[in-house]
C-alpha cells in the first residue's frame, strides 16, 4: 500500500489538479448557460438555480437567428471542406508522387508563405475582394461565395502540406 501511494499519489493528484484547471472555464460556461440573466458573472461556484431561459432564447428569439447561423456555418464549412480536399489533394498527390522540375522549390515556397502574418494580409484580401465586388457583386465582399473563395485560397498551402503528409504515408501500390 505504501509503495502504491509513493508511486501513484503524485500522478493522481497532479492529473486531478490539471483536470480541474482544464475544466474550470468550461464548467463556468455550462453553469452560466443554465442561469437566467445575461453575462458570465458568478456569485457562486455551485449551481443554485436551473433555468432553460437562455436555451429557449437561442431557438426562439428573432434577434438571435441561431438556426440560420448554424445553416451558414454548415454551408460554408462543408463547401470549403469538400472543395479544398479535392483541390488540395490533387496538388498534394503531385508533390508526393510525381517528379518534375521545381518540386523542392514549390514545397519550400508553400512552407515559407505560411510564415506571413495572416492578420495583415487580411487587409490586402479585403481590398481585393472590395474591388471584385465592384464588377461581380455575387462573389465579392460580404457574400458567402466570396468568403468561401477566401477560405479556400487562404488555407490552400496548409492543406497541401497536410495532405502531402497523408499521401506520403500511403504505400505507392
Amino acid at each position: 500500500m505504501n509503495k502504491w501511494l509513493r508511486e501513484n499519489l503524485w500522478r493522481h493528484s497532479f492529473a486531478t489538479f490539471t483536470c480541474i484547471f482544464a475544466l474550470f472555464p468550461l464548467y463556468l460556461v455550462v453553469l452560466s448557460s443554465f442561469k437566467s440573466g445575461g453575462s458570465l458573472q458568478l456569485t457562486s461556484f455551485v449551481p443554485r438555480e436551473f433555468s432553460l431561459e437562455n436555451y429557449k432564447m437561442l431557438f426562439t428569439s428573432p434577434k438571435i437567428p441561431f438556426l440560420s447561423w448554424v445553416k451558414n456555418s454548415l454551408i460554408i464549412s462543408s463547401t470549403v471542406a469538400i472543395s479544398s480536399v479535392i483541390i488540395g489533394a490533387a496538388s498534394a498527390f503531385a508533390f508526393s508522387r510525381l517528379r518534375f522540375k521545381g518540386k523542392k522549390f514549390g514545397i519550400q515556397l508553400l512552407l515559407l508563405v505560411q510564415m506571413f502574418p495572416a492578420v495583415l494580409a487580411l487587409s490586402a484580401v479585403y481590398v481585393i475582394m472590395e474591388r471584385v465586388y465592384t464588377f461581380a457583386p455575387g462573389v465579392g465582399l460580404g457574400t458567402q461565395a466570396g468568403l468561401i473563395l477566401v477560405y479556400l485560397g487562404g488555407s490552400m498551402s496548409v492543406n497541401i502540406w497536410l495532405l502531402k503528409g497523408f499521401v506520403d504515408s500511403i504505400p505507392a501500390e
Partner: protein
C-alpha cells in the same frame, strides 16, 4: 485506373467542365476589365489561358494536378503578400489615402477664400432661357440685382423684376425658377460656381443663400506646382505625396496622395525614436511571451505525460478531459477567459477573493496572458510528449537503470535529451506560432493596458502582430504603409526562425 476515366465519355465530360469554367471566367474577366480593374482582369485572363492550355495539351502532367491549387494560392496568398510589400513602400496613411488626381482636385476645392466682408446674398436658383443654370442674386443692402451664370454676370434693372417684401427679387425676364424639390434632390447645384465681380464667384450655401468666394490656389501641371494667385506663394511637390510651401516644407496642403516613398517606412523603424522605442519594447515582450509560452506549455505537458506514462486507474478519463482545452475553438475559450478575468464580476477574483484589476496593471495583464496561453497550449504538448515518450526505446532506459542510475538521473540524462531532440522542430514551430498569436492578445487584453491619453500605441501586452494591427487599424490615424513595413519585418523574423527549425529537423533526418 478504370476505363471510365479514359474513354470518350470522360473526354466529353472534361470538355464540358472546361468550357463551363472558361465561360464563367471569361464573363468575370470581361466585367472586371470593363469596370477598370485591370490587375484582376489580367489575372483572370491569364488563368483562362493556363487552364485551357494545361488541360487541352499534354504539355505537363504534374501541372494538371497543380493548376487549381496554384491559381487559388496565387490569388489569395501570394497576391495579398505582394500587395502588402508594395504598400510598405508607400506613404499609405490617413491624409495620404487617395490618388494624386483626386488629391489635386480636393486641394483645389479647398484652395478658396471668402471675400473681405464674407458677403452672402439672397438668391433664387433657376435656368436662363437657353437652359443653362443661373441664379437671380439680390444684393439687398445696395439695392443691386444680378443674373449670374457660370459664364457671365448681368446687372439687372430693378424695374424689370418683381421684388418681394424683403427686397429680394423673385422673377426676372428670361429666367425660370427651378422647383425646390429638384434642388433638394441633387447636390450638384451646390458645386456650380456662378460668376461675380472681378475673379470672385458665388456658391449656393443653402436653400436661397449664396456666398462669395474666389479661388486662391491654381495647379500648374507643367511644373507640378500649386500657386497662390493672391500672395504668389509657390507650393512644390515634395515627392512624398504632398504639396509643400517652397521655403518652409513643414507647411503642407491637405489632403495628400499616396506616393511611393520607397524605404522611408523602413527607415522610420530604425531612425524615428517615436516608432523605434515602442517597437523595441514590443519586440522584447514578443520574444519573452513566445519563449515563456513554449517553456511553460512544454514543461506542463511533459510533466503530465510523465505522470500518466504508466498504467494508471482512470487514465482514459484523465486523457479525455485533458485534451478538452485543445478541442475547443480557441477564440471561444479566450473570450471565456477574458470574462473570467473581469475585475468586478470575474470568476478568478471571486475564487481568489481578491479585487485585482487584471487588465489595468501591466504585470497582471502579462501574467493573465501567459496563464491563458498555458491553458490553451498544454494539451498539445501533453499529446506530443506522451507519444514521444513511448517512442523512446525502453532498452535505453533499462540499460541506464541497470547501470545504476536512479529514475531522476535516467530522466535527466537519457529521456529529456532524447525528447528535446525529437521535439525541437515542434518547439520551434510553436515558438513561431506564438510569435504571431494575434487572436490571444487581441481578444484577451486587446494589447492593453495602454495609455491612450499620451497617444501611446503600444500596450503592455502588445506583441508585434497586434501592435502592427493597432498601427494599421486601431487609431484615428491609420498608417497602412508603416504597418506593412512591420509585417514584412515580422515575416522575415518568423521565416528565419522557422528556417532554422527546418534545418534542425533535416539534420535529424540524416541521423535516423
Amino acid at each position: 485506373m478504370s476505363s471510365v476515366f479514359r474513354g470518350t465519355f470522360a473526354l466529353i465530360l472534361k470538355i464540358i467542365a472546361l468550357a463551363g469554367i472558361t465561360a464563367i471566367l471569361v464573363f468575370l474577366a470581361q466585367s472586371a476589365i470593363a469596370s477598370g480593374e485591370m490587375a484582376i482582369g489580367a489575372f483572370l485572363v491569364i488563368s483562362i489561358l493556363i487552364i485551357n492550355f494545361t488541360y487541352l495539351t499534354k504539355f505537363s502532367i504534374p501541372l494538371k494536378f497543380f493548376v487549381p491549387g496554384i491559381l487559388f494560392f496565387i490569388a489569395f496568398v501570394i497576391a495579398p503578400m505582394i500587395f502588402t510589400v508594395v504598400m510598405s513602400t508607400f506613404n499609405y496613411q490617413t491624409g495620404n489615402y487617395i490618388t494624386k488626381d483626386a488629391a489635386i482636385e480636393q486641394v483645389l476645392i479647398r484652395g478658396v477664400e471668402p471675400d473681405a466682408n464674407q458677403t452672402t446674398f439672397d438668391l433664387v436658383s433657376g435656368k436662363t432661357s437657353d437652359g443653362s443654370d443661373a441664379i437671380l442674386v439680390s444684393d439687398v443692402a445696395n439695392q443691386k440685382f444680378y443674373l449670374s451664370t457660370q459664364k457671365e454676370l448681368k446687372v439687372l434693372d430693378s424695374s424689370d423684376l418683381s421684388i418681394n417684401q424683403y427686397g429680394v427679387a423673385t422673377t426676372a425676364p428670361g429666367f425660370a425658377e427651378t422647383p425646390v424639390d429638384e434642388l433638394v434632390s441633387s447636390d450638384s447645384y451646390s458645386k456650380i460656381r456662378y460668376k461675380y465681380l472681378d475673379d470672385y464667384y458665388i456658391v449656393i450655401e443653402a436653400q436661397g443663400v449664396g456666398a462669395v468666394f474666389r479661388q486662391t490656389l491654381t495647379y500648374d501641371s507643367r511644373t507640378d506646382t500649386m500657386r497662390n494667385i493672391q500672395t504668389g506663394e509657390l507650393y512644390i511637390n515634395n515627392n512624398k505625396g504632398n504639396f509643400v510651401l517652397k521655403d518652409s516644407p513643414d507647411i503642407i496642403l491637405t489632403p495628400g496622395w499616396r506616393a511611393p516613398v520607397w524605404f522611408e517606412n523602413y527607415a522610420k523603424l530604425v531612425m524615428d525614436s517615436r516608432v523605434r522605442t515602442p517597437l523595441i519594447k514590443v519586440f522584447i515582450w514578443t520574444v519573452i511571451f513566445a519563449s515563456l509560452t513554449v517553456l511553460s506549455t512544454f514543461a506542463f505537458g511533459l510533466l503530465l505525460a510523465l505522470a500518466l506514462n504508466k498504467k494508471l486507474r482512470g487514465r482514459r478519463v484523465y486523457r479525455s478531459i485533458l485534451i478538452l482545452p485543445y478541442a475547443m475553438p480557441s477564440i471561444m475559450s479566450i473570450l471565456i477567459w477574458a470574462g473570467m478575468f473581469d475585475s468586478q464580476f470575474g470568476a478568478i477574483n471571486n475564487l481568489l477573493n481578491t479585487e485585482i484589476a487584471w487588465f489595468s496593471n501591466p504585470n497582471f495583464a502579462r501574467a493573465a496572458v501567459l496563464l491563458v496561453n498555458l491553458w490553451l497550449g498544454f494539451p498539445y504538448f501533453y499529446l506530443i510528449c506522451s507519444g514521444s515518450l513511448q517512442a523512446i526505446p525502453s532498452e535505453l532506459l533499462e540499460a541506464a537503470s541497470i547501470d545504476g542510475a536512479n529514475p531522476r538521473q535516467v530522466f535527466r540524462q537519457v529521456t529529456l535529451p532524447l525528447l528535446l531532440q525529437i521535439l525541437s522542430p515542434l518547439l520551434i514551430a510553436s515558438f513561431a506560432f506564438n510569435f504571431n498569436n494575434f487572436n490571444l492578445i487581441y481578444l484577451l487584453t486587446g494589447g492593453g493596458p495602454r495609455n491612450t491619453l499620451d497617444g501611446e500605441v503600444a500596450g503592455a501586452t502588445d506583441i508585434l502582430i497586434s501592435y502592427t494591427y493597432q498601427i494599421a487599424f486601431g487609431r484615428n490615424i491609420l498608417d497602412f504603409g508603416l504597418a506593412s513595413a512591420i509585417s514584412v519585418l515580422i515575416f522575415f523574423l518568423v521565416a528565419s526562425i522557422s528556417f532554422y527549425g527546418l534545418r534542425k529537423s533535416k539534420v535529424m533526418d540524416t541521423f535516423s
